[in-house]
């Protein structure tokens, strides 16, 4: 009885064994491991919810347990977090990197060529500034992030520019149509600045050492072809383009508010929102706050392209990146997530959540309906993402090697040169000072 194998029992055992062997692998809820990421803590209320939703959507699909930490820029928190993790060789897997940080930590970032090439094929080319900042020794070391990336072009008051400078910014940059900005040159910009200054509404451009001031100075210098250090690392301070740029910017700065050398990144926003200025150089954050706090100002704001100089029309572009630490524990999952966040559908959601503030760096992703529809006035952001590529997106300090350029940028050498010259220092002395400063940046 005990050893007897019946036919029925044989069939049942065989069936059970077969089923067990053939049973598919059922993954646990977090079978693909864990991933920790740092994202830039967005200032737009609710924008973090969209990024969280996108990450969670990916995590559920890929069975990865994700921890998101949102870190803001207040008190350089993101910079310090990045520095601390780089020093400790420990921390998150993916980290949001502000403009210059990929090159600062190039040796500790995982190359991402394998995901960047398909993304470029899918989403379109990237401008030279993104390549300059996101590549090291020919390899992509970070993925350009939509969250936080911005163009700091002019945001003008429609009424004041019309009244005092005789410029119709809406006609120059019509919503839904290509720009008609042939006459929008740096000379026209200077005349407009003078006229608005006379009218009691000076352009609100700072001359401090924070990003907004430096970005504007950088774009002006590029418009004259002026660089302090060339791509090979040679000092080019004492050159004619630099002299021309400095002379022009000093002339322009005479029409800025007298306390512009003390301005920080909040000063220009306050200047526009309080209704005291006709133009600032900023992404549409000031306009967005004005919508809430000063709607009568907001409905007169129009974000548009930069004026053209002798060497072209340059606009300051400040991209953010997502990098994967080489000491990260789940690099494959990290790459998969970054691909997911760079899909057009995801990018469109991020742009919409930020009210049009965030800019993707890929050429094919600059025509989302958010920019066309945001208002008031409707279409105010249409030209913000540079949809017709009529501006060259640049960063102050380029094309110097990034390790040198970051020092030119952070130390605000160009704005300091302008303030010194503005305060009466002879140009050659200012150039000698700048040359001495830049010499110090060449140390390795």
């Amino acid at each position: 009885m005990r050893g007897k194998l019946t036919r029925r029992r044989f069939l049942a055992t065989t069936a059970a064994s077969t089923a067990l062997i053939a049973m598919p692998y059922v993954r646990g809820s977090h079978a693909a491991g864990r991933l920790s990421i740092v994202l830039w803590d967005h200032w737009v209320p609710g924008a973090n919810n969209t990024s969280k939703m996108l990450v969670e959507e990916w995590a559920a699909r890929e069975k990865v347990e994700v921890q998101i930490d949102y870190v803001n820029n207040q008190g350089n928190k993101l910079l310090l977090t990045t520095g601390a993790e780089a020093q400790a060789q420990s921390g998150h897997d993916v980290i949001a990197l502000a403009t210059w940080l990929p090159s600062d930590h190039a040796n500790q970032l995982e190359p991402v060529d394998d995901i960047m090439e398909p993304l470029i094929k899918q989403n379109g080319a990237l401008n030279a500034t993104v390549e300059y900042l996101g590549k090291s020794q020919g390899h992509w070391i970070a993925v350009p992030a939509t969250i936080g990336s911005q163009i700091k072009g002019p945001c003008s008051r429609i009424d004041l520019m019309k009244q005092y400078a005789g410029i119709d910014v809406q006609a120059m940059y019509p919503a839904g149509a290509p720009p008609k900005a042939e006459n929008w040159t740096l000379e026209a910009f200077l005349k407009a600045a003078e006229a608005c200054h006379k009218g009691g509404f000076p352009f609100g451009i700072g001359l401090g050492t924070t990003a907004d001031s430096v970005d504007t100075a950088g774009a002006i210098f590029h418009s004259f072809g002026a660089t302090l250090v060339d791509a090979k690392g040679n000092i080019t301070v004492k050159s004619d383009p630099v002299r021309q740029a400095l002379e022009y910017y000093t002339k322009l700065a005479k029409f800025f508010p007298p306390d512009a050398p003390a301005w920080d990144d909040a000063s220009n926003n306050k200047w526009l929102i309080s209704g005291r200025g006709a133009l600032i150089m900023n992404p549409p954050s000031a306009w967005a706050v004005a919508k809430r706090d000063a709607p009568q100002v907001a409905e007169q704001c129009w974000t548009h392209g930069m004026a053209a100089g002798p060497k072209g029309r340059f606009a300051p572009f400040i991209p953010y990146f997502w990098g994967i630490w080489s000491f990260g524990k789940n690099k494959e999952a990290a790459k998969s997530l970054l691909v997911h966040l760079s899909q057009p559908a995801a990018v469109e959601k991020l742009v919409a959540a930020s009210g049009g503030y965030d800019l993707p760096s890929f050429a094919n992703l600059t025509t989302f309906k958010t920019w066309a529809e945001e208002g008031p006035p409707k279409g105010t952001l249409y030209h913000y993402p540079n949809p017709y590529n009529h501006q060259i997106l640049s960063i102050a300090g380029a094309p110097a090697p990034p390790k040198i350029a970051v020092q030119i940028y952070i130390q605000g050498v160009m704005t300091k040169m302008t303030v010194r010259h503005l305060q009466g220092e002879p140009m050659e002395r200012t150039l000698a000072w700048a040359e001495n400063e830049v010499e110090g940046f060449l140390r390795t």
Binding site: G208, A260, R276, Q411, K416, V419
Partner: protein, 328 residues
């Protein structure tokens, strides 16, 4: 034998007694040694107890102060990418930089001016408070300490709004009297004035409370004797009060000098070192170079440059205090 017997036995007994005495002595010494080195006796000794009680703090200081200090010395000897040892290379580099010497000069101006004014205001206010009747004195002391107890980051933000380049509350008031607008943080001279003013506002109460304590410890008889001798207020202050407070003044000034030299928050919040770097001090410049620019070894070198300056100041002041202590 009979004669020799008792004598011999006596000698043996004597030797035994001596041996016993020696052994007894050795035993006593052993006991004493055991007593001296035993845990219980060790615990009984005040110095050992004090050491044990302070050891957690010593360990904490070693971890939080000594280790970072040694680490920063190590950092200061590396190149920018922190891959090679460069010895004093970073310091030699700094010595050739115009901006660095400007920061040294500004740090000295900032610290010395601020400490001087803090000492003067503290001294004057301490006298006022000292002369308030004891009943209401506590209230005044509490109120006058408020700037010192508020977290500096908070009070500096309030000052920033008062000095705001475009919307300064001070300028708004001055405008009513036809004065200004004053570029509080936009002009080098005013910006330096502003950061020193805020430092004095925050730090003067510390001087005040220290001087008040010192004033209270000056024997009243000395003032009475001086009054009998016909000394006026200034003579009493010069010949009695100041000599009696000298040590407290010196120690307070030294302590404040160290803290003011290393100040970061006031300058960082009010001017961030601007305009055109004319208010940078060691700490803000070290932060700019080390953290913002990413040159950590150079930042460490800038901050370490404070050490010899403060060491010289500390040696001079403490030597003076010791000398006076010995004279006394």
């Amino acid at each position: 034998m009979a004669v020799g017997g008792p004598s011999k036995s006596h000698g043996i007994a004597k030797r035994r007694a001596m041996a016993d005495a020696v052994i007894g002595h050795v035993t006593d010494a052993g006991r004493a040694r055991r007593r001296r080195f035993g845990l219980r006796s060790a615990m009984r000794r005040k110095s050992m107890t004090a050491f044990l009680m302070t050891s957690p703090l010593i360990v904490l200081i070693a971890l939080l102060v000594v280790y970072p200090a040694v680490y920063s010395v190590n950092l200061a000897t590396l190149n920018r990418s922190m891959e090679h040892f460069v010895g004093f290379g970073n310091f030699l580099f700094l010595f050739n930089r115009e901006t660095f010497w400007m920061v040294v000069r500004q740090s000295c101006i900032f610290a010395l001016t601020a400490v001087l004014f803090k000492a003067i205001f503290g001294f004057v206010v301490a006298h006022f408070v000292h002369n308030i009747p004891a009943k209401g004195q506590r209230k005044w002391r509490g109120m006058l300490l408020v700037p010192w107890v508020i977290p500096p980051a908070m009070s500096c933000l309030a000052w920033l709004w008062l000095f705001d380049p475009s919307y300064s509350a001070f300028n708004w008031v001055f405008e009513k009297f036809g004065i200004g607008p004053i570029p509080w943080t936009g002009d080098a001279m005013w910006a330096r004035f502003s950061v020193i003013l805020v430092n004095v506002w925050i730090g003067a109460p510390f001087f005040m409370i220290m001087y008040l304590a010192a004033l209270k410890s000056v024997p009243e008889q000395l003032f009475e004797a001086a009054a009998v001798d016909g000394a006026n207020f200034w003579q009493r202050t010069w010949y009695v009060t100041l000599p009696m407070m000298r040590n407290i003044i010196a120690i307070t000034a030294l302590f404040s000098l160290i803290v003011t030299f290393a100040n970061f928050d006031i300058v960082r919040i009010l001017t961030a070192g601007g305009p055109i770097d004319l208010t940078h001090v060691f700490a803000t410049w070290a932060f700019r170079v080390g953290i913002e620019v990413g040159d950590i070894p150079l930042g460490a070198s800038v901050s370490l440059f404070m050490v010899p300056i403060l060491t010289v100041a500390a040696i001079l002041i403490l030597r003076d205090i010791n000398r006076r202590g010995n004279e006394a």
